[in-house]
């Protein structure tokens, strides 16, 4: 049988590819991939007309079947990404999410500690119980793009830190893409056992330029009792990229997550940042910055799900949009009846740098427990005229005054990032965005 997705001659996203993926997978994963593919086919594309979740994000122009799964690594992009690692976290192991074998660099120290760093594909074969534990938090068919990812992901990165081990160096994961018309399925799975500690930097990048690419991404973070995970991610796709991704963390008792997201690139991005605070006393601090210009469209959806008692979460996303860029934010704090004494806060602050830029913000609370402390806040405004005048009165030209104010608005977040090297990288990338017009992605030639 042919599938509706193979109507274009260039199309390679289809049943054949899905079947080929299933073939090289262990039985449990092959079954999951088949369920996912069937679900993907059965589900309609999300619609801004029909689906409340997509009401403000229109992907009518996105046709997944026109993209071919990438089968190579773009060396120039990887070099640019490695250079960022060298500057921001020179001791970090460097792992490339690749459809073909790629050596893991600088991981000797971590390997010596018993930490597993390998491809997700390899892990699914060798450590099926660990991968299954992580996958159990994401249903193969929970949405159109989650199903597509489940059916077609390849390569991927898997990290496991054993009980009581505190990693001596960070892990830097690079998800590169390049060329034109390709689809990538970036995959990060991190499992921390009891009392383990790790810092991860998860980076997405493609060359600067209008090349059309589709990124359907998945991040699954799992922290067992008392584990501490410092997760940082930076999205630096080029201007023609569609980026849709789910980043979900599950925390057991007293586990602590520090999450930092930096969103700069892509034509359109829709991501879900979700934290499931399942264990008693677990905590999550989620921070994010986003800078958009040109006609970029960003959609961040966050979920702080308090399930365990005494859980605490705090989320702050700061967005600056210029030109005709647009930001959509939806944030939910969901407190289950079991989550007594939960403490949650969600805030989204938007800075509008042009008359044509727009930001919508809808934080929500759903509280089904007693004796909780929860709140939300959202603001949107233009650059403050008095602040600008104050800087100008000291000789600073107007454009630079605005840039300083934008940078200051963001530094309030960057100053709170535990990994200072990553914070500095984020600041540098942000400065380039503020100064550089509507260009995103890394300076690299597609090979």
């Amino acid at each position: 049988m042919t599938t509706p997705l193979t109507d274009s001659p260039a199309a390679a996203l289809g049943q054949a590819v899905a079947a080929a993926r299933a073939e090289v997978s262990p039985a449990w994963l092959a079954a999951r991939r088949r369920i996912a593919w069937d679900a993907y086919e059965a589900m309609p594309m999300p619609s801004s007309q029909r689906d409340e979740d997509w009401r403000r994000t229109d992907i009518a122009a996105l046709h997944p079947e026109r993209f071919t799964p990438i089968d190579h690594v773009d060396a120039a992009v990887v070099d640019a990404m490695r250079a960022q690692r060298d500057g921001a976290a020179p001791t970090a192991a460097f792992v490339i999410d690749s459809p073909v074998a790629a050596p893991i660099e600088g991981a000797d120290t971590l390997h010596a500690q018993g930490i597993i760093i390998t491809t997700l594909e390899e892990a699914a074969l060798v450590h099926p119980e660990l991968v299954q534990r992580a996958f159990s938090s994401v249903r193969a068919d929970e949405s159109k793009f989650v199903a597509l990812w489940n059916a077609l992901w390849r390569g991927g990165v898997f990290v496991y830190v054993p009980r009581g081990v505190e990693a001596l160096a960070p892990v830097w994961i690079a998800h590169p893409a390049g060329g034109d018309g390709h689809a990538v399925f970036p995959s990060t799975v991190v499992v921390l056992d009891e009392g383990a500690a790790l810092t991860v930097i998860d980076a997405y990048a493609s060359p600067t330029g209008p090349a059309a690419l589709l990124s359907d991404a998945m991040v699954i973070l799992s922290a067992a009792r008392d584990a501490r995970l410092d997760y940082n991610t930076v999205q630096q796709w080029g201007e023609g990229v569609w980026h849709i991704g789910l980043q979900r963390a599950v925390l057991d008792a007293n586990a602590k997550l520090r999450f930092m997201g930096v969103t700069l690139g892509a034509r359109l991005q829709k991501v879900w940042w979700e934290v499931l605070l399942e264990g008693v006393g677990s905590e999550a601090d989620v921070l994010g910055i986003c800078f958009g210009d040109g006609t970029q469209h960003f959609d961040h959806q966050s979920l702080q799900a308090h399930v365990g008692p005494e859980t605490r979460s705090n989320l702050l996303l700061k967005v600056a949009v210029r030109d005709h860029a647009r930001s959509v934010y939806g944030g939910m704090i969901d407190v289950a009846p079991t989550a007594v004494h939960a403490d949650g806060y969600v805030a989204n602050r938007n800075l509008l740098l042009s008359q044509g830029a727009k930001a919508d913000s809808i934080p929500r609370l759903e509280i089904r427990a007693n004796d909780v402390k929860c709140g939300h806040g959202a603001t949107a405004g233009h650059v403050d005229a008095d602040q600008r005048f104050y800087l100008m009165a000291r000789g600073v030209p107007p454009e630079e005054a605005s840039a300083l104010i934008v940078r200051g608005f963001m530094d309030d977040v960057l100053d709170r990032i535990p990994h200072r090297g990553f914070a500095e990288l984020a600041g540098t990338l942000l400065d380039a965005e503020i100064a550089g017009g509507s260009v995103t992605g890394v300076a690299a030639q597609a090979s």
Partner: protein, 252 residues
């Protein structure tokens, strides 16, 4: 007789459609200390903002030259680069912008950049003089500062930027006796042949420290009388009423 650095003649300005400055005339010679006094609401801050180029204050008549250049067509940043400085009555907080980064950006913009070491040494020295704690270097500019801390931070910027003319808008208000002395000493240390000062105040107290060459009284958007330091002492003794009474009578 030294050269005139600031020359204002017949300056008229409106705020939100309302005329506040109704023909101000004032000359300040290079390196001199002038005081601008006047009751609340007479237009002193309006004059300061108008001179600095705040976009809300619209000039409707008159002229202003600074160092011989026509000031009025210039944006605020260009005025600052010519050497005009305003100590704000209510300094603005800019969360996220640290004092150090702010000062570096300002010095760079004014072509007064210096090597990092020299900059930090000078900053350290000036902060000690003004009794500002080292921790303020990395604090966001004016963010959560007390009234007195903000005023000292304004003088710190003045000390780092060394303009030709500093307008101090009620820098004395809200300061206790010790803080007032620190701030006044700071200003006195800086002014001289290279830097003149226009002190805006409605209390003569700060003038005991600053010893103005000239004192002007602004009332209802006009300079109604000018004199020497004894004019300030007269105001201290008798208030504005006798002066304004005669001034109003004179113009009537």
């Amino acid at each position: 007789m030294s050269q005139t650095v600031l020359s204002i003649s017949g300056l008229r300005a409106t705020v939100e459609g309302k005329e506040i400055l109704k023909g101000v005339d004032l000359q300040v010679a290079q390196g001199e200390i002038h005081a601008l006094m006047g009751p609340n609401g007479s237009g002193k801050s309006t004059l300061a903002y108008t001179l600095m180029g705040h976009p809300k204050y619209v000039v409707t008549g008159g002229s202003v030259t600074f160092g011989g250049e026509d000031l009025l067509p210039l944006t605020a940043d260009a005025r600052a680069r010519l050497g005009l400085f305003l100590c704000f009555q209510y300094p603005t907080a800019i969360p996220g912008v640290s004092t150090v980064n702010f000062l570096r950006a300002a010095l760079r913009a004014q072509g007064k950049e210096m090597p990092a070491r020299e900059f930090l040494n000078r900053l350290s020295t000036e902060m000690k003089e003004l009794k500002i704690d080292e921790s303020f270097r990395s604090r966001y500019i004016n963010d959560g500062f007390s009234g007195g801390e903000k005023k000292r931070m304004e003088i710190l910027q003045l000390a780092m930027l060394r303009p030709k003319l500093a307008i101090l808008d009620e820098t004395d208000s809200g300061l206790d006796v010790d803080a007032l002395r620190t701030v006044a000493d700071g200003v006195m240390r800086l002014c001289g042949p290279d830097m003149g000062v226009l002190v805006i105040t409605h209390y003569p107290r700060i003038l005991e420290h600053l010893h103005p060459d000239r004192v002007h009284v602004l009332h209802d958007g006009r300079v109604v009388t000018s004199g020497g330091a004894d004019l300030a002492r007269q105001i201290e003794r008798e208030g504005y009423e006798p002066i304004l009474g005669t001034a109003v009578a004179a113009t009537a």
